[in-house]
């Protein structure tokens, strides 16, 4: 089976019933995608499938064959950070960093569909991504700063 990840095709040996998360982390060693719970309740494993944010621990690779998958490793292009990545650095939105890849991808998918959200819409949008370090304050501000610019 083939998977299209970050614009590149990968030949996969894992069976179609393997979760996308396990294939990313253990077979392809794209370890930027994190496993925080394995039950779809923390958002650390969020990736984009055809531009939509999904929990990769809840999806088996058979379901995403032929679709465009974006992981955190594919968010910056040609060495240039995505504005969200830069904003997270500048605003102090990164602490331990474990939730960061998932929140960045959730935020990207959200801003792609709503470029001028309110604070409360941003909070709703990232409510599926737990962060234990920051209290969300600086994360929300970072996303707002990108939406405003």
């Amino acid at each position: 089976m083939k998977l299209k990840i970050n614009g590149r095709e990968y030949e996969i040996v894992s069976g179609p019933g393997t979760t996308l998360l396990d294939v990313l982390r253990y077979e392809l060693r794209l370890t930027g995608t994190k496993e925080g719970c394995g039950t779809g309740s923390c958002g650390s494993c969020t990736v984009l499938v055809d531009g939509k944010a999904i929990n990769s621990c809840l999806v088996i690779v058979g379901e995403v064959e032929g679709k465009e998958i974006t992981t955190i490793e594919g968010l910056s292009r040609q060495g240039k950070l995505h504005p969200l990545q830069q904003a997270f650095i500048n605003e102090g939105a990164v602490q331990c960093g474990f939730c960061t890849p998932g929140i960045l991808l959730t935020a990207k998918a959200f801003l792609d569909s709503n470029s001028h959200p309110t604070e409360s819409q941003i909070r709703q949008a990232i409510a599926g991504n737990l962060c234990r370090c920051t209290g969300y304050d600086k994360i929300v501000r970072a996303i707002m700063s990108v939406a405003d610019s």
């Binding site: 060693r29 370890t31 968010l75 102090g92 939730c99 990232i126 737990l130 370090c133 209290g135 501000r141």
Partner: protein, 749 residues
């Protein structure tokens, strides 16, 4: 002109780029060739005797390379497992909590390892579990350990009359004349408060990778708040000298006290030694919640007496902490230094107990013991100010301690900004104005944290390009690398980009205490500062003949060594770095610094929260939240704000929603769906005010930062709910159900 050029600036974390690109390496990201996978077999019972343990079938499964049980642990031959603190305790004759490890398997795949765990045969004889601390303390309750005596962990008492007890530790403090103090009081209020056990909730589950080389040396990659303390304990577990174990630092996905505990690393290392192959172990979230040691629940009875004018005359309190199944992580030891220190109380009596139960053993969580004790103290302070009709902040200001006062632990208080911080909050609230609207209320509370100080070493290399490399041995759980780099940049007069920080492994880095007790930046900065001065002295000696000025007249700015009297006389650090290696040099410039025995610089944080309570559903909405904290001097304000905002959010979770659900001692809510933590929709933006009353002991006057902002949250929220509803809740969490019950009860009375 600002006093400092880099210190005090909002500088982004130096580790942020690797984290936003997914390239930062955490324990679970480490892969070695030919790696095996380990899995733990756990007890299904909270309290049981092991009658038979047979691993024969598991061992003979194809692909299984090793199975170990307690009898394979070299460290258990010399000493009680209970003395190997923050380690997993493989059960020997009995299990004392559900999920206690009984055996561990290494196999060629995760699937085979899991299958082998299922083939391990254990016959248990169940015992009635002891689940309630008050029951457990009674002399007639059978002791969980037949050889455990109060305050004599795993050591028999000298006094023959002592009996084994479930009270692991007990301390008492008596100061003044308590009875006389209460006689002087016009108002005495007594209450009992309860808090639930709570998990740190770090997003990264435990993981470890280990390998053993042919010389018998073991190398371990695992998340730990202290690589050197981890090395020591793991070496004792493995029966090796400490230097035969090497801990390699990795990024840590949240810790908050919970990652001094090493549930996998020692097991993983032993499997690697047994099999001669690298081994990886990872915990599922379910395992983290069942066996990732939480903060203890508590029962506190507190009595405070005051005069009509609002002066405290006496206070007594009994703090009981639920230790869970092991006695090793005492919380009572923190009580003396962290309770009643912010108020002048002439007559005090404190009793504190760590009590064993057959539940998951506890460990330290962000200001251990203190959010629990302050939930009681600060709720009580609120009730008294209400009864007296006094403003709650004024009541606290009036009773606050000052420099030179003696704390209950007998310590003379150094300068702490109690009044300054309380007054800053009072001013903030004056400007904000009173809270309008129905079912809304404001609560305030104060939190004190004494802080810790450890031993740290550091060395700096001044490189041939004029950059500086700092080598330290403490892992970063709070942005410490960035703040410390700021200090190095400040001291050498170079930009942040010219500083690099290496967190070395235990073979290469100078010894460091763990990152606990809010001590890291506070203590480490002394070692780093001294290392910088040492290197700067060497640079001055090199620069002096070249500039033709006395060494003592040379300072550092803009990447140059400069003569104080004439800034035209200067030489770049790069040139000095190069010349140090030449004929006239002294060799490479290496500065070293060390610190131990630093007295802590206590800190105070004042909280104010506005809430709205839905009287139909009991749901609390946190409308706004503000914290004023005495940080001494903010090395990096952005980083400190993040610490405060994170701590408050954890506290809101503790106050309103989090908590274990037990069934006969077994944790039932083992996913993030039913162990509910705050999301972005549960908290507002959190205002922070950094009060800078410089400490006399910290570099630049800095203080402990990371733990103090957690302490006052629980009571602040409870006090706000009282303001909004008239209902006083004395048991956490204050769920919608509990609040509705309170409202209904109030309606009836």
């Amino acid at each position: 002109m600002a006093k400092y050029s880099v210190v005090g600036k909002r500088i982004p974390r130096i580790d942020a780029l690797s984290k936003v690109t997914g390239t930062a390496i955490y324990s679970g990201d480490v892969t070695l060739p030919d790696m095996l996978y380990g899995k733990v077999c756990r007890s299904p019972h909270a309290h049981a005797i092991i009658r038979r343990l047979d691993v024969t079938k598991a061992r003979s499964l194809e692909g299984v390379m090793a199975v170990i049980t307690a009898s394979d642990v070299p460290g258990y031959k010399n000493r009680s497992p209970l003395l190997l603190v923050e380690m997993p305790h493989l059960a020997q004759e009995k299990v004392v909590y559900a999920a206690q490890p009984v055996a561990v398997v290494a196999a060629t795949s995760i699937e085979i390892a899991e299958k082998a765990v299922g083939l391990i045969e254990v016959e248990y004889e169940e015992l009635p579990p002891v689940l309630d601390v008050l029951e457990s303390m009674k002399p007639e309750t059978p002791p969980i350990y037949p050889d455990l005596y109060t305050n004599f962990i795993a050591r028999p008492p000298t006094d023959k009359d002592s009996k084994p007890s479930n009270i692991a530790y007990h301390i008492s403090v008596n100061r003044g004349d308590l009875e006389a103090g209460f006689r002087e009081a016009d108002l005495i209020i007594e209450n009992t408060f309860r808090t639930q056990p709570i998990h740190h909730g770090y997003l990264e589950p435990f993981a470890a990778v280990a390998k053993a080389d042919v010389n018998g040396k073991v190398t371990i990659w695992t998340q730990t708040q202290g690589v050197f303390t981890a090395r020591q304990m793991i070496a004792e577990f493995l029966g090796l000298p400490p230097t035969q174990v090497k801990l390699v630092p990795v990024e840590i996905g949240g810790a908050f006290g919970g990652k001094s505990y090493l549930p996998l690393a020692p097991l993983c290392a032993l499997l690697a030694m047994k099999t001669g192959r690298p081994v990886r172990m990872e915990m599922s979230r379910d395992e983290v919640l069942r066996d990732g040691r939480p903060a203890p629940g508590s029962v506190t009875t507190i009595k405070i007496g005051v005069t009509k004018k609002g002066y405290i005359t006496a206070a007594s309190a009994t703090f009981i902490y639920d230790a869970g199944g092991f006695p090793e992580m005492s919380h009572t030891m923190f009580v003396r230094g962290n309770t009643f220190s912010q108020y002048k109380i002439p007559n005090i009596k404190i009793e504190a107990f760590d009590v064993l139960t057959n539940t998951v053993p506890v460990t330290y969580y962000r200001a251990p013991s203190t959010p629990q004790s302050h939930f009681a103290i600060e709720s009580q302070m609120d009730l008294i100010s209400r009864a007296l009709g006094m403003d709650p902040l004024q009541f606290r200001i009036q009773n606050s301690t000052a420099e030179g006062d003696t704390t209950p632990s007998g310590e003379i208080l150094p300068k702490v900004g109690f009044k300054e911080t309380l007054e800053r909050m009072a001013e903030y609230l004056r400007q904000k104005g009173s809270l309008q609207g129905e079912n809304r209320g404001r609560g305030v509370a104060c939190g004190f944290w004494h802080g810790a100080a450890g031993s740290f070493g550091a060395y700096v290399n001044v490189n041939i390009d004029g950059t500086v490399t700092l080598v330290i041995g403490v892992t970063d759980v709070s942005g410490s690398r960035t703040s410390i780099a700021q200090i190095v940049a400040e001291e050498f007069g170079i930009p942040m980009e010219a500083v690099s920080i290496v967190v070395g492994d235990t073979d290469t880095a100078p010894w460091s205490s763990p990152s606990v007790g809010s001590q890291t930046i506070y203590s480490l900065s002394h070692a780093v500062y001294r290392a910088c001065q040492d290197a700067k002295d060497q640079l001055r000696r090199l620069a002096s003949p070249r500039l033709g000025v006395p060494a003592s007249e040379i300072e550092f700015a803009n990447g140059q060594a400069i003569f104080k009297g004439d800034t035209q006389k200067s030489i770049p650090l790069a040139a000095l770095g190069r010349s140090s290696l030449g004929f006239r040099g002294e060799g490479p410039i290496v500065g070293r610094g060390s610190i131990a025995g630093l007295p802590p610089a206590p800190s105070v944080a004042v909280h104010a929260v506005d809430v709205e309570v839905d009287k139909e559903t009991g749901k609390v909405k946190v409308l706004s939240y503000a914290v004023a904290q005495d940080v001494g001097l903010a090395i990096n304000p952005m980083s400190i704000e993040g610490q405060i905002q994170g701590a408050v959010t954890q506290g809101i979770g503790w106050a309103l929603m989090e908590g274990y659900v037990f069934d006969r001692g077994k944790v039932q809510n083992t996913t993030f769906l039913d162990y509910r933590m705050p999301t972005a929709t549960d908290v507002p933006m959190i205002d922070t005010m950094l009060v800078e009353v410089g400490s006399t002991t910290g570099i630049y006057g800095l203080r402990h930062v990371g733990e103090p902002p957690m302490v006052g949250t629980l009571a602040a929220v409870a006090n706000a709910i009282h303001s909004a509803t008239g209902v006083r809740l004395k048991t956490l969490p204050m769920t919608p159900e509990a609040i509705l019950k309170g409202i209904k009860k109030q309606g009836k009375s």
